[in-house]
């Protein structure tokens, strides 16, 4: 059983490496478009930094987060956003409604691998360069805070961050999958999913202070694990309740995603072939 599991993992890893190779080939063909894409993403990142710079000229802290702590959070959020956009959204989840409407997912469904993996995961490519502003911001903030996080804080913060990516991916995929039933070619649903986690997940989690907002954003729609809780863990040390919750919620949401996908894909009807 374990041996089969390892073989399956190896198979998907090999497929993923091939997808990465294709991604690099594709990007090198449309170089100007790639450069403009980098320019746009860097522009949005700079706009985000500019916003907090202006805001902190007028205030000292946001729910206890100082300027450089917020910059650290923003940096982490930029990294998260780029991973989600590059690996799951571009030409995958954004394009899924149109592909469903046009009946173009016949071939992926016939392939001997998970349709969820094939249709929603893309090889990480040169667009990951767009993460650099986020990486720079994270290190810049740590230098300005004159703070070096210990190994445990970085380790557990990274675990929670990865859980946040899985939760974010799951939420967007669950929302997008409704397209199988609606038969609409518009990308409204994947954008709704992405924008929801982007708008609400980029804030410090302490702003969700009342019981209703806590229930919503800590459990039902747990976007606090995207960047705020990982940032807080690295800067302030690990809260084991958040660590446990992140692991449980990531596993739960991933399981729900797989089950929901398998259920909704039964509504798909091919256009031809």
């Amino acid at each position: 059983m374990v041996h089969l599991g390892i073989r399956k993992l190896k198979k998907y890893l090999q497929i993923y490496l091939t997808l990465i190779k294709f991604e690099f080939i594709l990007r090198s063909t449309y170089r100007m478009s790639f450069l403009f894409e980098v320019g746009v993403d860097v522009g949005y990142s700079l706009a985000s930094i500019f916003f907090f710079n202006i805001l902190y000229r007028n205030i000292n802290e946001i729910v206890g987060w100082t300027y450089y702590e917020i910059l650290f959070l923003v940096g982490l959020n930029i990294i998260f956003t780029q991973i989600i956009l590059d690996v799951f959204m571009a030409n995958r989840l954004f394009a899924l409604p149109q592909k469903i409407k046009d009946g173009e997912i016949d071939m992926p469904l016939l392939k001997p691998l998970s349709s969820l993996f094939y249709l929603t995961v893309k090889g990480i490519g040169p667009s990951t360069i767009n993460m650099l502003p986020g990486v720079f911001l994270v290190f810049y903030a740590l230098v300005k805070l004159a703070y070096l996080p210990n190994f445990l804080a970085i380790f557990f913060g990274s675990i929670i961050f990865i859980c946040g990516i899985l939760i974010g991916y799951s939420i967007i995929t669950i929302i997008t999958t409704i397209t199988f039933k609606l038969n609409s070619s518009s990308d409204n649903l994947p954008r709704l999913g992405f924008e929801s986690i982007d708008y609400y997940g980029s804030n410090p989690h302490q702003i969700y202070s009342n019981i209703a907002l806590k229930t919503l954003f800590y459990i039902i729609f747990p976007i606090i694990y995207i960047s705020s809780v990982p940032a807080s863990t690295i800067l302030n040390g690990v809260d084991y309740r958040f660590l446990l919750a992140a692991l449980l919620l990531a596993a739960t949401f991933l399981t729900i995603t797989i089950k929901f996908w398998n259920r909704m894909i039964k509504h798909y009807s091919s256009a031809s072939s």
């Binding site: 706009a47 007028n58 709704l192 924008e195 702003i207 202070s209």
Partner: protein, 265 residues
């Protein structure tokens, strides 16, 4: 005769976009979620900071609850650049109407359909926020703000066409739409009221056209701008920028048509 022609274009566009009701409704839900996120964020800030810049809790919440409503009037989404790249633009060259007038009429019709589907959603959310936080709005100020929003719509249309005509020369005109949005965020008051800016930066940004898309209509709607001189200057500057983009758009279109090769069609 011409009026009848453009009326028919508007009617056709209106009917065409009515078939995308679900999509329009979906867009308004997305925009509403963004507004609610802003309200939660700014409310949290003002819990620990009572007066920041010239805003208090009520006026800052008023600013961000008016954002989607004003945006419903002033925001433009067009596919002119894509039509040029796909060669579909050549269809317009053989038709008996002015290209700019055609796209303007189409945009107004599309805007009407969007407002029809989005305003009920926005008003519902606004009403809840008004009751919850005891906000007050003045009808006179709202009408002034709305007037500026209509002026901003015209400005934005010609700004958008100016960018779109660049598609005659540049393949990646899609990127300029994003750069325009970034400018709205940084210079237009989309993410933070311009009053938060340091004085020297505020004075510079005030001369630019981007403030008219969100900041100016919202500020007047809230009654934050009461000085007559400022009002006159804002109107004159708006007219200047509208004229500037009309002329620039016209020149770019004229030059672009000479270059247009109608590939893809």
């Amino acid at each position: 005769m011409r009026t009848k022609l453009y009326s028919q274009i508007a009617k056709n566009t209106f009917t065409q976009f009515l078939t995308y009701r679900i999509d329009l409704f979906g867009s308004s839900i997305r925009i509403s979620l963004s507004a609610i996120a802003s309200l939660i964020f700014w409310y949290a800030i003002y819990q620990t900071n009572s007066d920041v810049s010239i805003y208090n809790t009520k006026t800052i919440l008023g600013y961000f609850i008016l954002m989607p409503i004003i945006g419903a009037f002033t925001m433009i989404v067009s596919n002119i650049g894509r039509d040029i790249k796909d060669g579909k633009f050549s269809n317009h060259l053989t038709k008996p109407y002015g290209i700019t007038k055609f796209f303007f009429v189409k945009q107004i019709a599309k805007k009407s359909v969007f407002l029809l589907h989005s305003l009920p959603v926005y008003f519902l959310i606004t009403t809840i926020v008004i009751i919850r936080f005891n906000l007050n709005f003045n009808i006179g100020n709202l009408l002034i703000g709305l007037s500026f929003a209509i002026g901003a719509l015209i400005l934005h249309f010609f700004m958008d066409t100016t960018i779109s005509w660049l598609a005659f020369w540049i393949d990646e005109v899609w990127a300029f739409g994003h750069f325009k949005r970034i400018l709205f965020v940084v210079l237009g008051g989309l993410s933070i009221p311009l009053d938060f800016y340091p004085r020297h930066l505020y004075d510079l940004v005030s001369l630019l056209p981007f403030k008219y898309i969100f900041y100016i209509p919202i500020s007047y709607s809230l009654g934050m701008k009461t000085d007559t001189n400022t009002f006159i200057i804002d109107i004159l500057l708006l007219l200047f920028w509208i004229l500037f983009f009309i002329i620039t758009s016209h020149l770019l279109l004229k030059r672009g048509l000479k270059k247009y090769g109608a590939f893809g069609n």
